[in-house]
Amino acid sequence: MNKTVNQKAWFLVLPVLALVSFSAVIPLMTVVNYSVQDSFGNNQFFWAGLEWFKEMLESERMWNALWRQLAFSAIILAIQIPLGIIVALNMPKSGFWASFCLVLMSLPLLIPWNVVGTIWQIFGRVDIGLLGYTLDAIGIEYNYTQNFYAAWITVIVMDVWHWTSLVALLAYAGLQSIPDAYYQAAKIDQASRWAVFRYIELPKMAGVLMIAILLRFMDSFMIYTEPFVVTGGGPGNSTTFLSIDLVKMALGQFDLGPAAAFSIMYFLVILLISWVFYTVMTNMDKRDGV
């Protein structure tokens, strides 16, 4: 759409600007404030410069949390995106069963995150949970509070359970928008199933898949509640992701300076990666001539 230049449009944006400034800029400035100051308590602060940033950059704890976080996000994206596409391709196209699948698939998305954690915590318990009990009964040693691999697998399966539907629904929406004529043309050309997927369905889904990747990346990078409820960041620190570590530091140990410096760097990493996704996405929008 060709937009006209109109500076008065700013007035329409003002309410959003005011609201988001209040709930984002002020808190963010507080964080910046803490990150460059030190305190001996009593609300007396003095300038610390970039001390905290230096300390955090050298701290092994932060780097470990960052690598764990990146690994987690990469793994869940690598599972959820293909699985979501597969599910979307196999969904009924219309009618009662389509609604049925849509409603059931959306269910996990609307469960409060700590309840998701609770569900899996119970489900994986060896004494009272179906999954834990079954695995134990067939002789697989499974204990997500003690075993490193069990903890990671539980957290990943939980996230796949929780969020694959989002990817699937997005992909499904992309598929729904493909006109029937495309498929008929493919049939006339005797295109293989793979060719139909590769040259018709995938390009048409590209836009929504980018949204899916962007949303899933952002949210998995900020994940806090679910693993915290299930594993509490353990065993040891093996499932302590960035947010868990940050909350531990800020609200648990009250190390405001380092936590603030940590926050800012954390935010910048998300911003950087999301900016790349966003640029790719807007370029794709432009190319499609929207």
């Binding site: 230049v5 609201l19 969904m91 009618g95 469960i111 800020a250």
Partner: protein, 295 residues
């Protein structure tokens, strides 16, 4: 496969269902494959939920004493505990209050802004749009402590409005994003015609434009509801007693005698109900909605 006639409008997409042997035989395997994949996936989704429901209908003695696939000693006592104890059910009311407030605030501010972004170029529009999105990317963990201090200093700590405002941080950018996508699909000629007909901007916006993007508004509301309902970190940090959300109340079940599993499971099941109801109302828009209007 039951041959339901209710799927008549969609039967065109499954050719060969009505026709006889040879074609049907050739076409059937892919349909069956799809059903198997969907069946397995839905089974994977439903099993943990079933287990929660199953536990919520058992007594604690049965949960801990024996391993049963369905409740042998069916009881609704766990639900009764929650629905009769004010400290339990007030959690649900608190959550619903701040979620509804959040949806109202989000839509009110996001609608005009999305209109501006979808219709006009103005100074700094692209930067502003990305800056808004960055707030969606901000980890709540970063904001927990500053929010606590900010809302304490303006005397809003432990009120519903504090949580509603805090959740605007990520809901408003998303709503602007979604609505902008839907508004782009409305041709600009409609605006112009309305102005020629003598409509003022507010009147045009409410009477003509909003009905046109009703499904977009529904979707934005759905997302605002969803993310506000499921969030815990901020709502827990910003409340103590008066506005405590149900999700935070659930940690109470750890008592002196261990965890009250039955009540915990029942509380979990009850937190799923509002979401399920909302899904049921928007089920026909879900697919398009999840694509944020960009299909």
């Amino acid at each position: 496969m039951t041959d339901t006639t209710t799927s008549a409008p969609g039967s065109a997409s499954i050719p060969g269902r009505a026709t006889e042997a040879p074609i049907a035989a050739r076409r059937k395997p892919p349909i069956k494959g799809a059903a198997v994949v969907m069946g397995l996936y839905l089974l994977f989704l439903m099993l943990p939920l079933y287990w929660l429901l199953n536990m919520s209908l058992k007594t604690n003695a049965e949960i801990l004493g024996s391993f049963t696939l369905w409740p042998r000693d069916l009881t609704f006592a766990n639900y009764a505990t929650i629905l009769t104890d004010p400290s339990w059910y007030s959690g649900y009311i608190n959550s619903l209050i701040y979620v509804c407030m959040n949806v109202a605030i989000t839509l009110t501010v996001a609608l005009p802004a999305a209109y501006a972004f979808s219709r006009y170029h103005f100074m700094g529009d692209k930067h502003l749009f990305f800056w808004l999105l960055t707030n969606r990317m901000a980890p709540p963990a970063v904001f927990a402590l500053p929010f606590f201090q900010l809302y304490s200093s303006v005397q809003l700590f432990d009120t519903h409005i504090a949580v509603a405002l805090a959740h605007c941080l990520f809901n408003v950018p998303l709503a602007v994003w979604i609505l902008e996508g839907f508004m782009r699909g409305v041709p600009k000629e409609i605006d112009e015609t309305a102005y020629i007909d003598g409509y003022s901007f507010p009147k045009f916006f409410v009477k003509i434009f909003m009905p046109l993007i009703a499904s977009g508004i529904g979707v934005a509301a759905f997302f605002a509801f969803m993310f506000s309902w499921v969030e815990l970190l901020l709502s827990r940090t910003l409340t103590a007693v008066e506005a405590k959300p149900i999700a935070a109340t659930m940690t109470r079940t750890v008592g002196a005698s261990g965890v009250d599993w039955g009540v915990l499971a029942a509380a979990g099941v009850l937190t799923i109900v509002p979401g399920a109801l909302v899904i049921w109302f928007v089920r026909n828009y879900i697919a398009k909605g999840f694509a944020l209007g960009r299909v």
